[in-house]
Amino acid sequence: MIRFINVSKRYPNGQEALQKVSFQVKPGEMAFLTGHSGAGKSSLLKLIALIERSSQGQVFVEGQNLNGIKHKDIPFLRRKMGLIFQNPRLLKERTVFDNVALPLIIDGYRHQDISRRVRGALDKVGLLDKEKTYPDFLSQGEQQRVGIARAVVNKPRLLLADEPTGNLDPDLSREIMGLFNQFKKVGVTVLVASHDLALIAGLKHRILTLKGGQLISGMVDAQHGK
């Protein structure tokens, strides 16, 4: 599903965010990406969503080499994946329903399909009763769950989450991780960046560790022998 081959990322200001990173995440696998802040976690996720482009090396998503994707085709790549951020980036002037519906509206779904799918996604994150609420009236945990509902509403095969529990207390964090686990169980590939080792260590998934832009552990999937 995701494959990095000798990927380096250097920002225009000279900062080396990633150095010769190689790894692979298989379809349906769930993996964590950890390391101190500034170790390159966010940069790595940004390369997968083409928010940034690699300086060297190759990134593959579903077998497609991202180096070959033109600027105008980036939106269509992003529609294949669900992105979740530390700050859920909800639109404050729109209701929970409209926020979750956004990817479907963009992709040109019909009204009836949109209602059905948005309710399904909200049901999955346990917020069906909040569809008419505005984001400002939700707790942080609820806002993050709306962000997750928006990420999964068009049933992507890949979920990327960047510090999704960064603003949440431990109980809420476990709840969010539980949600990711459920998506993994229905075949979605999940890659979660988190520095909260205590939280992710208990979850029995592969942990990729970044240090100073280099991958120092978890390059191979121990469970599958590769």
Partner: protein
């Protein structure tokens, strides 16, 4: 178990995708109406600033439109006047009917003369009475002070002013002709003035149109700044540039078209307000002149043009500012 679920899920998503493709064309209209409605909503979100912007646009459009109406009326008024020039031969008052008839025949036979119209003294008097309103005064006169007139139109190919001047000289030498007058120079001057005014109005319209373009462009630029976060989010969930651009283009077009509509209302109200004054003026001249407003076609053209200006203003602003917003 997990594999089976994954397979089921894949099947579902395949079916969904097929439905989804079949529904694309109807979704296209839905998407456009959605963008249209949301841009309308944005205008109502800040009603005061939207109204102010619209007022500025409307005033910028009103000015050249009103001048255009004035010009149109001037042209309408002068339409009956031939630019070719007409020569009036005023006959001596002692000319008899028979002499006049012979003279008409003589003039008609001249090679450069196109058409000839004879207006007898009596005919001239009654026309003058009707048009001038001096009926009572004229009644008191002993004799008809109006001379008989022969109106001579040169042949259409005789356009050169030298040729016409020569014709005038020739006619002037005829016996019984008291005065030969060429009614052309003042008309040519009038047309020249109208021409200058017309070009000035077009230039003014051009600059004010440019103004509308800039006003809309600037308004859209500020809107884009307000929606910076929203644009980023839309890009992150896979929105194309076209999707993001669309509502802004609708907003710009709406600004233009609504401003044009307000301009139409202002022009019509102005015409209504000045109507009594115009009536008074034309009344003084005993004229049957009717002011013309903007026709249906003119109105549609105005709305279309102002909508287009708004669209273009938005287009430039969007391409300059919107596409620079990239998520980080």
């Amino acid at each position: 178990m997990a594999n089976k679920q994954a397979a089921v899920r894949k099947q579902n998503s395949l079916e969904d995708n097929q439905n989804h493709v079949a529904n694309r064309s109807s979704a296209y209209f839905q998407r456009h109406s959605q963008a249209f409605l949301s841009s309308l909503g944005r205008l109502f979100l800040n009603p005061v600033s939207s109204l102010l912007t619209l007022a500025v646009i409307a005033i910028a459009i009103t000015l050249p439109t009103f001048l255009y109406v004035v010009l149109k009326n001037t042209e309408h008024m002068t339409q009956g006047w031939d630019s070719n020039g007409r020569i009036s031969l005023y006959l001596k008052t002692d000319t008899t009917q028979a002499q006049a008839k012979m003279l008409v025949q003589q003039v008609r036979d001249m090679p450069k003369v196109g058409s000839v119209r004879y207006i007898s003294a009596a005919e001239g008097l009654s026309t003058f009475e009707r048009q001038s309103g001096f009926h009572e005064i004229l009644q008191q006169l002993d004799s008809n002070p109006i001379p008989a007139v022969i109106q001579v139109e040169p042949k259409t190919h005789v356009q050169d002013s030298k040729d016409i001047q020569a014709l005038v000289e020739q006619l002037r030498t005829l016996r019984q002709v008291d005065l030969a007058q060429l009614d052309m120079q003042w008309l040519q001057r009038l047309y020249a003035i109208i021409n200058v005014v017309e070009s000035s109005i077009y230039m003014l319209a051009f600059f004010l149109g440019l103004g509308v373009l800039l006003i809309v462009g600037n308004t859209i630029r500020m809107t884009i700044q307000n929606y910076h976060d929203e644009i980023e989010t839309i890009k992150l969930v896979g929105g194309t540039d076209a999707f993001i651009r669309r509502p802004f283009l609708y907003t710009g077009t709406l600004y233009g078209a609504l401003g044009g509509f307000m301009a139409l209302v202002m022009v019509f109200s102005t015409l209504l307000l000045i109507q009594p004054a115009v009536n008074h003026l034309t009344g003084l001249y005993q004229s049957h002149f009717h002011t013309q407003g903007l026709g249906f076609l003119d109105g549609i053209t105005l709305l279309g043009l102002s909508g287009l200006l708004g669209f273009l203003g938005a287009w430039f602003a969007v391409n300059r500012h919107l596409l620079m917003v990239e998520p980080t």
